[in-house]
């Protein structure tokens, strides 16, 4: 446990150094490259959020894109109101909405927007979680129910054109003003803002997974019944991690809407939701850090390869994903951990003699 923690802290430090110093320096602080990377970093947050519920607690949430979308719409609603000044947002006029809907009114306030972007997804996630986990729904059923919720939610957002802009989403947003600083999404400062959010999210995620709470979640993943017999309220633990994961997805959505300057129903599509699962699986679902790295790597590869293979890229993504699932079920993280362990085994006698640990002590997988 402690050695794992120290590895994770070293890993996080290396990752932070690469993201915060390596990447900007490598691209010579180029505005467009940094903006692209800000996008990857915000996606890394939603991927690590999924790792918390899926990798740690074994709850495969195929509806992660719904909570991501809620965050992005919260941010976009605030910026849309700002862009519209005193008038109504333009799309409402096209849909014969005369007065600002009550739902929209509080989004004039930035503080409310921030809270809503975090708490609304968390609350909705919690509601679904209470629903599922009180009924002791597990395994593939969680996946299918969250998928059904995602489909229903996306339909609802597209349907309610007067509130949400329908299929077009929310476009023509004003820049965010943060404590008098007008955020320029092509600035280095904005890149650092997104990077800082990711680092805070990762530190929080690492703290959770290494706490007793994380230990119980892993116990639930391995054997919910036995954990129940030990007196833990499994449903409560599952609900809490689901809420946290949804809230972090909301944070990622808010940043994503900022980076792309629009919010769209495609953020809540089934394929986007499963793309999040791919990033998480490729990086390694057991580690929040690995999941974040996975999101960045896959998106980086997509950004570079889709220029070359415009049509073939999705095919390559599918093949790559299939190979990862079949031959690297624990993702890149699993490969690295196994390699390290194999290297250590050669000098295991020395280690065992020094630490008094049994040989080949099996870590939870």
């Amino acid at each position: 446990m402690n050695s794992r923690l120290s590895y994770d802290i070293i890993g996080l430090a290396v990752f932070a150094a690469v993201i915060l110093f390596g990447v900007p320096a490598f691209f010579g602080y180029d505005a467009f490259e940094l903006n692209t990377f800000s996008r990857y970093l915000s996606l890394a947050i939603v991927s690590m959020a999924l790792a918390l519920s899926w990798g740690t607690a074994g709850l495969l949430n195929l509806g992660q894109a719904a909570t991501f979308g809620m965050g992005s719409y919260a941010m976009a609603m605030h910026l849309k109101l700002k862009a519209s000044g005193d008038g109504l947002p333009d799309f409402m006029g096209w849909n014969n909405v005369d007065t600002l809907p009550i739902l929209w009114v509080p989004f004039h306030s930035f503080a409310f927007t921030l809270l809503a972007g975090l708490l609304v997804p968390a609350a909705v996630g919690g509601l679904i979680a209470v629903f599922m986990f009180r009924a002791r729904i597990a395994g593939v059923f969680v996946a299918v129910i969250t998928l059904a919720f995602l489909v229903a939610f996306q339909l609802l957002v597209i349907e309610q054109q007067g509130f949400t802009g329908g299929q077009n989403g929310l476009t023509g947003l004003a820049p965010l003003v943060l404590f008098g600083w007008t955020v320029d999404i092509y600035s280095v400062a904005f890149y650092y803002l997104v990077g800082a959010c990711l680092m805070v999210a990762l530190m929080f995620g690492l703290y959770l997974t290494h706490s007793k709470f994380g230990l119980i979640l892993r116990a639930i993943r391995e054997d919910p019944d036995r954990t129940r017999y030990f007196g833990y309220n499994v449903a409560n633990y599952q609900t809490v991690i689901f809420c946290i994961s949804a809230g972090l997805a909301g944070l990622a959505g808010m940043l994503y809407a900022l980076v792309l300057e629009f919010a769209s129903p495609t953020y809540m599509s089934v394929s986007f939701s499963l793309a999040i699962v791919i990033w998480c699986a490729v990086g390694g679902r057991e580690s929040v850090l690995a999941a974040a790295v996975g999101a960045i790597l896959v998106n980086l590869a997509e950004g570079r390869l889709s220029d070359v293979f415009v049509e073939g890229w999705h095919m390559m993504l599918g093949v790559m994903f299939l190979l990862v699932v079949m031959f690297m079920p624990r993702g890149i993280y699993g490969v690295i951990v196994d390699t390290f362990r194999a290297l250590r085994r050669t000098s295991a006698c020395d280690d065992a003699a020094q630490s008094g640990a049994p040989l080949n002590s099996k870590q939870e997988s």
Partner: protein, 289 residues
């Protein structure tokens, strides 16, 4: 009132197609515990196979059915042998793997045939309508309903009256012991997967005159089919049939009262609530897994 009846009839024909898709899915899940997210893509393959047979060989939708069944079943058989068979011990990973297969199939069609939608003519001899009072029923939709009942009957006979069905039920009950009795579970799994895929192919063929054939057509259908399987109760043929009818009809009737999209949302919400109170579906089977 006429609107209600006509809508109920349209719902019934969609429900029949949903039933065929869900039947394949239910058999695959019930037997192997594999959640097949590529099932929608098998439907799509069936639709494209029908289109190809019609444009290149001039076959009608109905005459193409056996060929489409065999073609998609063969594709399913290969996929089971190469990929799915390696994942039986990891049920959650089959969701991911089959979704990867789905992406690959979708992109293969998009690259090979093109992304624009294809049109398939319905059979000439089924082009008319049957009218009873104000109720107008197209012959083709009547045929679809009858054919889906035929498929259910064939599947039931296959499961209960053949040697293969007996082996299949034995493997579902207890894989280890049936293997001791000389049943090759691997072979049974492969054939079951191929049969389920073939059913999806048939559904794809039947749907072509009603829906436009595009590479992404499977995604929406597979979500519905999943819900049918879960609402019906896993491994229960009766439950699957009942749930397909229920969901098809409720969607159709809701769409008169509210509108199409809100009707669908209401049905999805209803299903989520239903699962809360009946996690094992309407007709849970007593099969031990």
């Amino acid at each position: 009132m006429d609107v209600v009846f006509n809508q109920a009839f349209a719902g019934l024909s969609i429900a029949s197609i949903l039933l065929i898709i869900a039947l394949g899915l239910a058999i695959i899940y019930g037997t192997m515990g594999v959640i097949n997210l590529a099932h929608g893509e098998f439907v799509m393959l069936g639709a494209y196979a029908t289109w190809a047979l019609q444009t290149h060989l001039g076959l009608g939708v109905i005459t193409a059915l056996p060929l489409v069944f065999l073609a998609v079943a063969a594709a399913g058989w290969v996929i089971e042998k190469v990929i799915v068979q390696r994942l039986y011990t990891r049920p959650l990973d089959t969701i991911l793997a089959t979704w990867g297969i789905g992406i690959i199939l979708q992109q293969a069609i998009r690259l090979g045939v093109g992304a624009e939608s294809k049109f398939v003519r319905g059979p000439q001899w089924l082009s008319g309508n049957v009218e009873i009072g104000a109720l107008v029923m197209s012959n083709y939709r009547l045929f679809v309903i009858a054919f889906s009942l035929f498929i259910v009957a064939v599947t039931w006979l296959l499961m209960t009256r053949t040697e293969f069905g007996m082996k299949l039920r034995a493997v579902i009950q207890n894989r280890g012991i049936s293997e001791c009795y000389g049943i090759e579970a691997k072979k049974v799994y492969s054939v079951t997967f191929a049969y389920g895929a073939g059913l999806a192919g048939i559904a794809g063929a039947l749907i072509t005159p009603l829906f436009s054939t595009i590479p992404t057509m499977g995604t929406g259908l597979v979500v519905d089919a999943f819900l049918v399987v879960i609402v019906g109760g896993l491994g229960s043929l009766v439950g699957t049939a009942a749930a397909a009818m229920l969901i098809g009809e409720v969607t159709a009737l809701f769409s008169i009262v509210i509108n199409d999209t809100l009707g669908r949302i209401a049905v999805l919400a209803g299903i989520i609530i239903l699962i809360r109170f009946r996690p094992r579906g309407l007709f849970p089977s007593d099969t031990r897994r």
